[in-house]
């Protein structure tokens, strides 16, 4: 078991009287090596769930355990460290930093790394650049390359710290079908050959069917696992 959510609630205080409940009593276990899709209409809470899994947000109630360790009691620095080492993010809008080159973007997580890396980050970045077909773009700036290329840079960035878990939030949402398919192919490959655990949030049924496990959400609740 890689990740376990038990009795997770996420509530937002809209004003004094109104409380919006984004997640209701979520219980979910994700095992190592899984390739999971979280699907659901917009507003179903799937993004909120992903933010909780990605340690970007914390639940109002409930426990999140990573490898049997309760992380809801950790402080901000410890959470940041865990985020740096445990999760790799791929976002819908790529979220690259435009003032840094492709290579520098890929290296950002290593700048903030607290653990000693047992590999040379630059060499690893170059390997990932080659693996994802980005040769020659190392010193380009993100706004000078195509969307598909940008998303592959984001994937290289997500992998540079060698995380157990890759979280992809609508990874194909901003891409044309061809680029989207390429990204999906890479994600599948990462799951199959690298044995990485992958969670995709998507509203595209077509994408969801390519995964091994489907989690369907409606109104902040999991309706089908």
């Amino acid at each position: 078991m890689l990740l376990q959510l038990s009795g997770i609630w996420k509530e937002y205080q809209i004003d004094e009287q109104v409380v919006f409940t984004a997640l209701k009593d979520i219980n979910l276990t994700i095992d190592e090596g899984e390739f999971t899709a979280i699907v659901g209409p917009s507003g179903s809470g799937k993004s909120t769930l992903m933010h909780l899994i990605g340690l970007l947000d914390h639940p109002s109630r409930g426990k999140i355990k990573i490898r049997n360790k309760d992380i809801t009691i950790l402080n901000d620095d410890e959470i940041s460290t865990l985020r740096s080492e445990f999760v790799g993010f791929v976002f819908q809008s790529f979220n690259l930093i435009n003032k840094l080159t492709v290579l520098e973007n890929i290296l950002i997580p290593t700048i903030y790394a607290r653990k000693k890396l047992d590999y040379n980050p630059e060499e690893k970045a170059k390997y990932l650049i080659e693996r994802f077909g980005l040769q020659g773009k190392e010193n380009s700036y993100p706004n000078k390359i195509s969307g598909g290329q940008q998303q592959r840079v984001a994937m290289a960035r997500a992998l540079i710290m060698d995380p157990k878990l890759i979280l992809a939030d609508e990874p194909t949402g901003n891409l044309d079908t061809k680029s989207g398919n390429e990204i999906m192919k890479l994600l599948k490959e990462l799951n199959k050959t690298d044995r990485r655990t992958i969670v995709i949030v998507t509203h595209e049924a077509d994408i969801a069917t390519q995964t091994n496990r489907l989690i369907k959400m409606v109104d902040g609740q999991i309706v089908k696992i």
Partner: protein, 401 residues
Amino acid sequence: MNYFLFIIKSAAFDFSRNKGRTFLTSLGILIGVLSVVLLTAFGLGLKKYIADQFESLGTNLLRVLPGQPLRSGGFSGGPSSFGTIHFEEKDVVKLSRLRSLEVVVPVYYKSMDVVAGKNTEFATVYMTNSDVFKAINLNTEYGAPFTKQDVEKRSKVVVIGPKIAENLFADQKAAVDRSLKIEGQTFKVLGVLGAKGGGFGGPDLDSFIYMPYKTGYIFNTDKQFIILILKVKSDQSIETAKTEANDILLKRFKKDDFSIVEQGEILSAINSIFAVLNTVLIAIAAISLVVGGIGIMNIMYVTVTERIKEIGIRRALGARKKDILYQFLVESVILSLLGGLMGLLLAALIILFVQRFFPAYIDLQSIMLALGVSSAIGVIFGVFPAKKAADLAPIEAIRYE
């Protein structure tokens, strides 16, 4: 890639993308540092200038003054504290017997109209003996100084400063052997002195007229002196000479009626006045540094708001709060330091130019201070915006559009 190198590169990119904004923001610090460094440099220059002037007026000098004008290190009470006593020739004679003294120079001075042909100048006439030239380093450029005999014979001769020579006779050299009139009396110009400089608020030494004191009794009917200048034989015997002269004068005057001051005491009294003035000016200039700091704080808040998304991305990729804090602090320090460096550079250029006329200079201390203060301003005024950036919730930041 090194952590700080990475942060600095990222800051440099933002600065180069907003060149105009970066420059305008550092301008406040630039002006602050420029004015503080310039004022410090001028203060140092003034101190050096005064010291040089004193040096050129002779060394190992003691001045006997009426009253206690220099009590407790500053001019206390203003001109009125100059007492009413006067020195007489017998004091000069008694003091001259002291072994420790080389010469004793009595001085009476009066400002009067001096006429040569059609030209009239209002000038200070120093009535003194022939030792004055040796005591305060006066050398004649043209002609010769007056002698002991001129004093004894009450010769109607004068030695004049180069500036007044030019004003009265159009040419320094031509002034020798010409005559001038002071209050209806005619005097022959024996010599013209070399230039000493002066002005800048102090006495204009080059416009003085020197006259044998006995001749001067025409204007000084009470035969009294205002100041006695004592030149001591060597600097080791200054204290001895001071005590001995004091003992002699105490026989005739009360303790508080006169004072014997060293050149150095006068120098430090003048310096302390200028130091206070300079400090006040620098303090006023330092206000502009605070204003500059506020400008930096303002722009850092704008920068943080513009880059909320970037902060969110960095947090998602593992940056801790303090990583974000450092990033923005480094940026504000660079911004402030940039202004400080430019201010320092501009100040150096101005001082380099000014040095042709005035011995102003920038010392290492003010360089360190300028850079230290501008870094400190960067930290102080950068910490609040940086804290704001660091405290953003990662999820809010990354969702921000």
